[in-house]
Symmetry: C2
Subunit: 127 residues, 2 copies
DNA sequence: ACCTTTACTGCCTAAAAAGTAAGTACACAC
DNA sequence: GTGTGTACTTACTTTTTAGGCAGTAAAGGT
């Protein structure tokens, strides 16, 4: 799915970092633009592929599938395939995924309180 | 510092996401490979440029400066320049940066407990 | 005159992430 | 036999991120 140059400094650094630091490895596992949004959608229960897609209007099908696959590989999300035609699949958080939700909620609160705006402006809690 | 194509879908999506979701905006603000590591180094007090560099062996000077700049722009980190020759600068967390440390510690614990390995293996808390 | 130290800057390339557009499969309805 | 719905796949391009490496400034040492 990803083609990586295994001996690039880029890749070596990423490996070193993720194997050395539980924070970084966690954040990189749910990094990128879409994964957290997907997890957040699933926090209240399982959803069909199309339901996720409708809930996240801007995501392309390719991106959604790709991110879901990566989330499944890293065991944040499970998929149930009903083997029907037309297809029906349902995605849900694994126990691992669910266990991370309190942290996401903390970040939600923190982010809301501090009005972080990506490349953020100075706000409430500053020097 | 970043040259962005302001009307690319890529950029538009990023803006939409970060303005709409406090979690995503927070995580993207400290995203990338190095920012969290830098913040983590600073959690116990201010450090000189070279001290950070030695603490993070793999980072290049260009990357370190770039990440520090971005962290300053988004008000996670402050810089004190002593205007000496040879130069002396000290970096430290802002109040905002400090206020995020408890969350980082939560993630540290969670990551340690769940042995997340980047593109992770199934571990303790799974279905 | 030349080297060292510290904290940078700039230009270029490599690699990865994100996006675009089209196509696939199968069952059912019309 | 053409069209619809669902959940994908594939090939390709654009955009962004990461890294390589040389260069800069200014004071002080030798």
């Amino acid at each position: 799915m990803k083609k990586r140059k295994l001996n690039s400094t880029n890749h070596i650094n990423e490996k070193a970092i993720t194997s050395g630091c539980p924070i970084t490895s966690t954040v990189l596992a749910i990094g990128g633009r879409w994964k957290i949004i997907i997890l957040w959608q699933l926090k209240d229960g399982s959803l069909r592929y199309n339901e996720i897609r409708k809930a996240i209007p801007n995501i392309s099908e390719k991106m959604l599938i790709q991110q879901l696959k990566e989330l499944m590989q890293s065991c944040w999300v499970d998929k149930k395939d009903y083997n029907e035609i037309p297809p029906r699949t349902e995605y849900s958080l694994t126990k691992l995924g669910k266990s991370f939700m309190p942290i996401l909620e903390n970040i939600y609160e923190w982010g809301t309180k501090n009005k972080i705006t990506a490349i953020g402006q100075k706000t409430a809690a500053n020097n």
